[in-house]
Symmetry: C2
């Protein structure tokens, strides 16, 4: 089978989004130890079980005092106080501080009852139990008040957020050692092509090294999903059998190869037999022979065999949808740069031109062919030229998508 | 012990760099399967063992022909050729193509001897072994030539590069299924503090939740290193014993807590006993009580116990050096934004002000205290104010460091 008309890229996204929305992801949420939650997408709102700080505490190493006792005193005229207790981190003083008294206190320790400020060690002189304080303090000085950071019952973090280091700190401080996150989607990856072999120092006849095995694995991982990789020859019954097996145990399938709009390409035919092919060919360059199907209510992304076309198709047509499968919304961020030379484009195609940007300028690479892997290695961005543009003139501003901005 | 003078941030970096340069990292290079090399730092130059493509191959599904046979022909006046062979992907034709002949060919298959162009299927009509070609081709059209992407002996990738998906493709195409990378540094992380407990729904007396356990683990991981975490009470003999054990089996140590410039803080004293404390206190805010030591020729980063101070110290003083331990050079990229309001700063301190940027503007958060974790969660960047500045005025441009730009 093949569809005769190319699907415009925005319409293709709408079709894929709709399929993902309806997709059946089994047990989408899992509870994991907080220490494994870095770079996971949180599936719950986090309501604090605690106040943080849990008590009024000292923000400094010094002496807890009554601020009033120091009013009017200074370096020239220090006030004399009496040290009645000393508490380290993790300890608590039971004294009730009276006027004229001080408690030696470590950073983080609770302020004793009766005290309302902490004077830093630097401004004091201690001799035995006598203390001289050489400045006037205001009430609350160097005190972190109970609940200042988080109050009990506060929602400290909303769901659908990719967890960063600092997010883990606030979840911990809210009292949780475990957290609910969206399960990473399991992606079955099938590289097809009878000509493909694994890398080795010498290759024969019509053999081609299967570089997609490596790039698709890495790209799936960088989309926070878990790939299972298999390679198959261009044999329809075999592809059908393995495809059926893989889709049972995975949340989505990605294939490479076998999508060209011609006879003899097996992947799209197999997807058509097992489900419904919704897209076959998009207005994307490179990457036109992208196909997409819904099989057993799961999304199937069919990429080209050509390495560069497959990479562009993954970046443009698959990446954001894999993220969406774990409820992470990402829209690629386009920035504006000045083209160092003319970049031709064809009306009716969204072009992703490999380019190198440095400062305010962007230089398209001089390359041809969707098989040229080197162009992906030497570039650091795409120049994105929308369908309705006939190209970019030298010195004109254009839309640039940094490879680095695709990472999550 | 304590040093009485604060070390300026740039000088502190020079001291750390120098220590890392001399550091003894055992077996720094390891050979790993290429499929595990994504986000690793390559330790070798990659010289291609192969040409890629390995032969002149078809860039399209179509028919290999002699371009000359089509000269002058068109849609109105198609040329008639004779199909003498048909080859799929992974196959090779043994025919030597003569004038008037065509070989049906799949994308990627070798061009038969005698042919010099491929006509796309779309421009042909096949009936039995008769073929009509409805356009005039130029020699080389739709042919990917041998070595067009990579030539044998080419250096396709230099060492000290963080490997991206596309880099794996070129290493594979150069013939390698394994690659030498720098070993991930092993980092012993000691959180200290007798008051610290793991998260739980209720805490008592002077207990504080050990959020650093989670953030430092995540931050070390995001620096491509492998953390081992232990927690210890503020007990000098115990800290000394565990520190000695940990440093034997790790490439660096990071501690939190026990760095304040006062008595009773054990970590700096232990580092001083076991090695040499080179920095104790830096002109950084928040994060002044940062310390650094060289112990057994290994770097020891001593961070504050306060979560926010520890995060800033990690970002500013540790992150780039951990990356450098695996030969990755990263200088944080400052961008310019307009301050929405006045940001005060003190001469002689490098300020890292938590802020939120959106478009061209940056808004400093209204918070106080280095214990306020929420400020790290609600901000997305630092405003960096150098030592020689007394602050930023409303509407002035200032240096901004995006949290996202710290990722590798």
């Amino acid at each position: 089978m093949f569809l005769s008309k190319l699907t415009p890229v925005p319409k293709a996204h709408a079709i894929i989004e709709n399929t993902i929305k309806q997709a059946s992801i089994e047990n989408p949420i899992e509870k994991i130890p907080l220490e494994n939650a870095h770079q996971r997408v949180i599936a719950q709102d986090v309501t604090s079980l605690l106040d943080s700080p849990p008590f009024d505490r000292s923000a400094m190493d010094g002496y807890a005092i009554r601020a009033q006792d120091t009013f009017g005193f200074s370096q020239q005229n220090p006030v004399k106080l009496n040290i009645v207790d000393r508490i380290g981190a993790g300890s608590k003083s039971n004294v009730i501080l009276k006027s004229g008294e001080a408690v030696k206190i470590a950073t983080g320790a609770p302020i004793p009852q009766g005290a309302d400020a902490v004077v830093m060690e630097e401004y004091t002189q201690e001799e035995g139990d006598d203390l001289e304080v050489a400045l006037s303090l205001t009430p609350g000085e160097n005190v972190s008040f109970k609940g200042e950071d988080i109050q009990k019952e506060d929602v400290v973090l909303g769901k659908n957020r990719l967890l960063k280091a600092q997010d883990l700190a606030i979840i911990a401080s809210a009292g949780y050692s475990e957290v609910e996150v969206f399960r990473k989607p399991l992606i079955g990856v099938i590289t097809t092509g009878s000509e493909l072999v694994m890398p080795r120092p010498d290759i024969h006849d019509a053999e081609v090294i299967n570089s997609n095995h490596y790039t698709i694995k890495a790209m799936v991982e960088s989309s926070l999903a878990i790939p299972t990789l298999i390679h198959l020859e261009d044999d329809a019954p075999l592809v059908k059998k393995e495809f059926k097996k893989l889709i049972e145990t995975h949340d989505a399938i990605i294939t490479t190869g076998g999508t060209a709009i011609s006879k003899g390409d097996v992947v799209v035919d197999v997807a058509d037999e097992l489900g419904e092919v919704l897209i076959h060919g998009v207005t994307l360059r490179p990457g036109k022979p992208f196909a997409f199907a819904q099989v057993q209510n799961k999304p199937v992304f069919m990429l080209s065999g050509y390495p560069v076309a497959a990479m562009v198709q993954f970046d443009v047509m698959a990446r954001k949808h894999l993220l969406k499968m774990q409820n992470l919304e990402r829209t690629p961020l386009l920035i504006q740069k000045t083209a160092t030379r003319k970049i031709p484009s064809t009306l009716g195609r969204t072009d992703y031109v490999r380019a190198k940007t440095d400062g305010e300028f962007v230089e398209p690479l001089k390359i041809k062919g969707s098989g040229i892997i080197r162009s992906m290695v030497e570039s650091n961005c795409y120049v994105v030229i929308e369908e309705n543009l006939e190209g970019i003139g030298e010195g004109e501003l254009c839309d640039v998508l940094l490879y680095d901005s695709l990472r999550v």
